[in-house]
Symmetry: D2
Subunit: 333 residues, 4 copies
């Protein structure tokens, strides 16, 4: 870590600061220029509060020269992590094709969709049981019952399942869930991350709506630091000024995360765009960008003419998309 001191900082102030840093077990290397003084901090700087340091009057700016994350860092773990979830593997060349409905609605629905997406090439079944909703008056999911229905679909098809947790008090319900999802709104619910770090369950961690890639990796670090290395990162769109799409899918995140970390990186184009029309092109783009998997909403509800065109694909559209995804994987691998 480098701290640049402001012009006009006195000798006494500089010495105070150096002593304070040494008290935190850091070696300090001083580079006195004509105009500025630069302090190089050597040691375990991951414990130094960069915001506090930056906010000091005598400090012009602070810059990390090593990333603040350790266990998720590719530098110290060059090989790709491969996460195993039931019959599925993710990362290190293994591609996850996760598909299923936004919400679990009934036994018939989830088993039909599960069979359909399995036939169309899905390797993992998704479905929401606990639903985070902006409004307290909106449908909050089938909850416990939804998880039981997902387990029935898993039994019927053999597909491993992924579903979202919102509250650590419900962890017992997830005993037979293969991958536990942490949603965008809980990406910095640090107490939840720590508890999930104590399990060995694969965790699918979604990027928050306004979180940087470094913050996403620091949240993953919370999980790994408690002993759980089975983390899958998921880009799902960030909030910008653009209003034609629900969010702006940041596909450069795929390469950046793969450079910085050994963890697998998947992309969710359904939530990012909010329109079925945009899901196939963005799914193909994510694959071409090198993603380790996709998470796609698929429904199967022929009686509901309404649903055609929502952010979900039909199983037929999904099957067609999957074929192209596999062809693009051939090109970019």
């Amino acid at each position: 870590m480098i701290a640049v001191l402001k012009q006009g900082t006195t000798q006494t102030q500089t010495e105070h600061l150096i002593q304070w840093l040494k008290d935190r077990n850091l070696d300090v290397h001083i580079s006195q220029g004509k105009e500025v003084t630069i302090l190089g901090l050597i040691g375990d700087t991951s414990r130094v509060d960069m915001e506090l340091l930056s906010s000091l009057d005598i400090v012009e700016s602070v810059k990390r020269v090593s990333e603040p994350f350790k266990q998720v860092n590719r530098t110290f773990h060059p090989l790709d992590t491969v996460v195993e979830a039931g019959s599925a593997k993710i990362g290190g060349g293994h591609f996850a094709m996760i598909a299923g409905p936004c919400s679990v609605e009934s036994e018939d629905q989830i088993i039909q969709v599960a069979s359909a997406v399995k036939d169309a090439g899905a390797t993992i079944l998704r479905g929401g049981a606990f639903k985070p909703r902006t409004s307290p008056y909106a449908f909050q999911g089938m909850k416990d019952e939804g998880i039981l229905l997902l387990l029935k679909a898993k039994a019927a098809t053999g597909l491993p399942i992924v579903t979202e947790i919102m509250n650590i008090s419900t962890l017992d319900l997830f005993a037979d869930v293969d991958i536990i999802q942490v949603g965008a709104r809980n990406m910095q619910n640090f107490d939840l991350l720590k508890e999930l770090g104590k399990t060995k369950k694969p965790i699918l961690l979604k990027r928050g709506l306004a979180n940087t890639l470094q913050e996403l990796l620091m949240s993953a670090e919370y999980i790994l630091s408690e002993g759980n290395e089975n983390v899958i990162l998921c880009e799902r769109g960030i909030r910008t000024f653009e209003t034609y799409t629900r969010n702006t899918l940041d596909l450069s995140a795929v390469s950046v995360l793969q450079d910085l970390s050994h963890l697998p990186v998947i992309v969710d184009p359904s939530h990012a765009t909010g329109k079925a029309r945009l899901v196939p092109p963005m799914a193909l783009a994510a694959t071409a960008a090198g993603a380790d998997g996709l998470m796609i909403e698929v429904h199967n509800n022929p009686s509901c003419a309404l649903c055609d065109g929502a952010q979900s694909l039909t199983p037929e559209q999904f099957a067609e998309l999957n074929q192209k995804v596999q062809q693009i994987r051939e090109v970019v691998k």
Copy 2:
């Protein structure tokens, strides 16, 4: 709520949609134009999933004509809510001057700061016991012990106290805390909001880093919908592309929230700017904008030359600021 249908929507599709809406207990008023068909939805539209409706292929766009929040809505509750917390009142002309250190560090520290800020005009003491930190390796606060020390400071000075909760499992520790703070990262931790709604405690709800004002009000609605009307809204800066300041303080939020809701609105300039130098001008600006209170970091640590200039003010700076704040209140009230 108004739904505009796309050109080319067939009669059958329109009828399907209308039936689907009627099944949700809505009356539908149809306005057939030459180019577009507009559906006016009448009834309790707060339960209609606007995102789902928007994502339908035949729907051009959806627009609410009434806000989706009810209990926080000023339309149905014209008078200002006044929140009472110990000796302090907030809202309806009562101004909250909340001050104290970022973190509770020791008994001496918190009692000294509490006395100092009380003398300087503070009406409520703040101090962090549970600290949400981006890094798992950073200091996470004194936790339980920090709350005990805050209670000692309360006993010593008579000031009501406010401190942050991160996990509903720790609620018992907050029995004698006067105001429970929900931090920006937990603004959409809906399970936490619901549980706090079941208490009668005043809740200080901070706006998330990338949340709209409507989302902030919907999160407040979660608390009120469970029976707790004692909610204080807090603007603390949003995330933008600007990097000179830690966040961008959105002061127009004060008037907009006061127009839309009866709840009191306070401003935290310390976290928003991250620099002590910017706290006084932004505190004065927030007061001039009509805020119902301020939340300001103050420390009292003469032995630590370092701390001068961080985002905290000294008690002397805070006293001087408080005088100007009171003068501006006279001008704008």
Copy 3:
């Protein structure tokens, strides 16, 4: 266009507004609900100032039901526009592979790069002569001389050329330039757009750093409204809070623009990411997303070890990328 009036609007106020709208040659269709009054405005609403209407006290909100752009609108022009520039065609299935250096530096440099990228599959040569720079002290390009050198490279290789204009007073210099680029910072330099609309030259219009897709289309409309239909739209990254990449490339823009407009849409991954390492994955992603072309920085400067790794690719890297791009085009077409 729909205007929703606020509750409490009086009969007189409503009548005033309706008269004002009728004075602007609009028919007004009134839909009086129990809670709100909705006005449907029929006629040429592209001339109505939506911001003014929205800002009226009695107006709750205003919503367009038809896009404000006409000539760029696919609704009235269903077939893809194909722009022709020398030997190259763009749009309607024709893919543009634009490559070349950031700046023209010397005759040798530009002719060498031009030959190299031609051999590697480029169909158009790019190179900056007039360079918009944040700092007045930075290199501002070779200007007139740079354009002359580009023309020599065109003569030597037969590749059509594209280069940026910053000031309409220099238009004469562009007489033999095949495509005139309008940079992101000039996307809303309306006087420049109007003048370019009076030429028949192909115009490559880059999206501004913080402009919406609708604003990009409105700027294209400025050019078409003066009679020039030869416009190519270019996504080149938008400004967000993320700092790992220079900008955030918004690839969903490709499909959205192609849905809304008949104009070809290309992507510039070099400027968006600012790192050579990220150019190939994002170029492939853009192709998979359905872009009508790419614009990629390539240099050829073996004496400058430094340049390896900047945002430019070497001709060899570009040749390899081009092969994969063509393979992905086969998959997605």
Copy 4:
């Protein structure tokens, strides 16, 4: 300027880079740590292309330790610049109260408003003659004639006038205009800035919708570098995800700009918020934040009931606001 090299950079690569930097007339100070090598660049780094340097493969990151702007920098010019425009002074304790209509519409209108705002305390008259509009079909202003009418209003009231230039070819029309405004969309129209730098006219430079404060100062530097020191900076809101207000007014910009530069800083709350209701609280907030002036839309059109409530204030509302502004100036000065 500091460049941090990546781990694994070879000796040869480092030497190449150092030679390249020395060729640019910089001294290089090398600090070789165990993990990283840091280069301190000494000399005129304002000419170094920071983006190019950052994009090199061997460079981890680059950081300026001195600002890239010189003539606008307070470090080298500690005293406040006072801009004089006719009878008005701005900066150094002189407060500018700029008021007038959005657009000049007729001689009667502009003379009436000018008289009304003068009586209410305005020191400068604003009014748009050339109007930048998103749509080519929207009213583009009265142009030349608008400027003539402004000059009549100036003659009638003695108020100095400010109006926007969009195109350097119209400069002659501004001979008797006291302050030339550069709008947000032209903040980085560098050719326009250079030409205005060759005049001695006061220039009111508005911050672009998505520009950083450093970019605003660099644009001002373009004007000063050509010899014109009469620049007034104007904060007018930035683009964020929030939709209740047209833009998000960034009031911390006032203090930051005043710290970094000697130029006066004013605030335009009318365009930022887009609602008359929000103009007074934000005008008061800007004053409390220490702004050197305000720019406020005022109209005077009793026959047009419509206009009440738009983003313009009436002269009466403006007079009342002005009184409070002056009271707040007393508190904060």
